[in-house]
Amino acid sequence: MPELFVAMFREEWRMHSTIFGSLGFALFPVLVSAITFMGSAMIPYLEAVIPGGTLSLVVHLQFLLLGVMVGGFGLLGQEVMNRRFGQASLLAYSSRSLPISDRRIFTTFVIKDTVYYFLLWVLPFIAGVTFGIPLSGLSLSFVGLITVTLTLSFLFGLSIVFLLSMLYAKSPALLALVLSGVILIAAVIVWLQIAGMVYLFPPYALYRDFSPLVFLYSVLAIAILFSVSISGMTLSLSGKERHYPNRYGEIAGWLGWLPAAPLVAKDILDLWRSGAFVGQVLFSFLLPLAVIWVSLSVLSAVLPDVQILFSFAAVAGVIAATMYTWLTEFDSVGTYTFLPLGTPDLIKSKFTSFSVLQVIPVLTMAGTAILSGYAMEAFPAVILAVSVSFYACSVMIYLTGLWPAVMVYNARVLLSSLLMIGPVLLVFIWLSFLDSLYACSAVLLALPTYLLVRIAFRKWASWEKVFF
């Protein structure tokens, strides 16, 4: 269905380019390239400290992570299209008027999204590395190799999460069953030494051993995961009528002491009933953190374990900040902006809902610290993670208002957020390396967090929604 693909592709392009101009959007990949290009200069130094092979594994894991972060198509199914484009999208609904099946439309949507992410992140990264060859001294054939293996890593991460989220949406029990089955089989294969552990991550196996057979294995793995996910999706824009007892008043009552409680209660019901809550926690938080944990553990040869813990805490904070996008991306604010609410009220409510969700990083971080044998460090690690999370969220609110998922693809927004978050992260990681307790100084971030949110109220108050 190439016409449908082209039409959807154009719709997405227009949405972004009407919001911040074609230039801001077109510059986004250029910026990603430029950053990678500059990063290339560091490769010789990194290779000197990090043992061979480790760096490449970490990079492959980052591309896996990128795929993992964007692959949860299964969670909301068609609701994703609905909420992304709002009521305005005629394409998402064309199955109602045109002889095209729901599945076809959804498949096209997923492929379009994948291509978009590829063009916005993967390709610019590879271009940056290619231009950086004079700086990094990498060989052209090596760059050719990683072009293939990194792309496959991204697709592999994406299709795994697509499959897992599809299974989860069908039934959590099914997901648990399939997952334990897969782990069991993998364990047996590795244990019996039928194949090495590396084959569980086919694109990386391909990187290690570039042969037609392994290439075929990687591509097949991705193709199978992807097609099973697509064909397993339950698609219907009109399911059965769902009844629920009225829980709203009760929840709003409990939360009465919070700012913007009526809206927070709505957010909570929305997240819970859409099934997005547990799903997002699993696929957009815990799973990415697991990948990050593995990436960092690989570095244990160069970093003491306790430093890995604090680096993890800081990065977990950044990932936790993306919970703000769960609250905004999947909420069509147009459905209640005709009520007496201003943009500041909405931002306040989203920030409050975000704060409620911070229970999750607190528990995760405390658990990680204790399980990895650093119970004494649990407290500073939690403080670091949560402070970073609030701060990064406030940066997002300041830069993108209520529209982080869309606005991030603006070169200026990306650059500003890197500059506002990156150095802060490094400072606090460095402090925690000096002494675990110094990590607690991250509470100082509360002040800029508060200020940024206040400024955002004013900045976005007069901003008019031009889309949806």
Partner: protein
């Protein structure tokens, strides 16, 4: 008489297109004001500006004495609104949605009021259904109830009848008439001329963003003209101009 809506030179551009072009009008308390016009003539844009959801490119408007540009939220506190697209948040049930609106609008005794609306608009059996699973007409009922839940003195309603069956249309028209008799004011946009002819006290015809006629409905009917003919003439004359 008491003016509840006063617009002066309201203009709104979308790019180069003047969706609403230098519109001035005033609406008196107690009237049932119909804003008529063909598709794309700017009715929805007009209602959005009057309720502070869209900022005018130029011009001024006050609603119940509130400047809608300076204080859009206060304007929305005072009025009731039915937006063009009936879209309550998808994962609340109908009754939860009315609770939500009541909380935002700080309405006392919302439970009974909501119940009254469920019965009046005959959808009590759907009150525990998720909004996203409701039929179009039922969602429209919910949006109708939402707009009047706090008994505003003024309601701006965009095509409120379009998804209703004939029985429901009758119920709603009667409600609107009574509402105006009790001292309320309605600002309604529609292109269903029979509805306008039946219930409006005043009408304005919008065409390509400009007012081509405005005045009491009785004036038009007194000329023994049907509203539909008058409308077609008003709109056509301009097209050939």
């Amino acid at each position: 008489m008491n003016t509840v809506i006063e617009a002066n030179g309201l203009t709104r551009y979308y790019g180069d297109l003047a969706a609403v072009d230098n519109v001035s009008l005033s609406v008196e308390a107690g009237s049932l004001f119909g804003l008529l016009g063909p598709n794309g003539s700017g009715k929805t844009t007009m209602i959005r500006m009057l309720t502070g959801q869209v900022r005018p490119s130029s011009g001024k408007a006050t609603v119940l004495g509130v400047d809608v540009v300076k204080d859009p939220v206060l304007a929305r506190v005072k009025v009731g609104i039915i937006p063009e697209q009936e879209t309550p948040p998808s994962f609340l049930t109908a009754s939860e949605y009315l609770d939500f609106v009541a909380k935002i609008r700080k309405i006392e005794g919302a439970g009974e009021k909501a119940q009254w609306w469920f019965e009046f608009l005959d959808f009590a059996d759907k009150k525990d259904v998720l909004c996203k699973d409701l039929s179009r007409g039922t969602r429209q009922k919910l949006m109708f109830a939402q707009a009047f839940l706090h008994r505003p003195v003024l309601a701006l309603i965009d095509e409120p009848l379009i998804n209703f069956d004939p029985v429901m249309q009758k119920t709603v028209k009667e409600y609107l008439r009574e509402y105006v008799c009790d001292g309320g004011t309605i600002f309604l946009s529609t292109h269903i001329l029979e509805v306008a002819e039946e219930i409006c006290s005043d009408v304005a015809i919008l065409h390509r963003g400009q007012i081509v006629h405005s005045g009491p409905l009785a004036e038009i009917l007194a000329r023994k003209e049907k509203l539909s003919e008058f409308f077609l003439n008003a709109v056509r004359k301009d097209s050939y101009a």
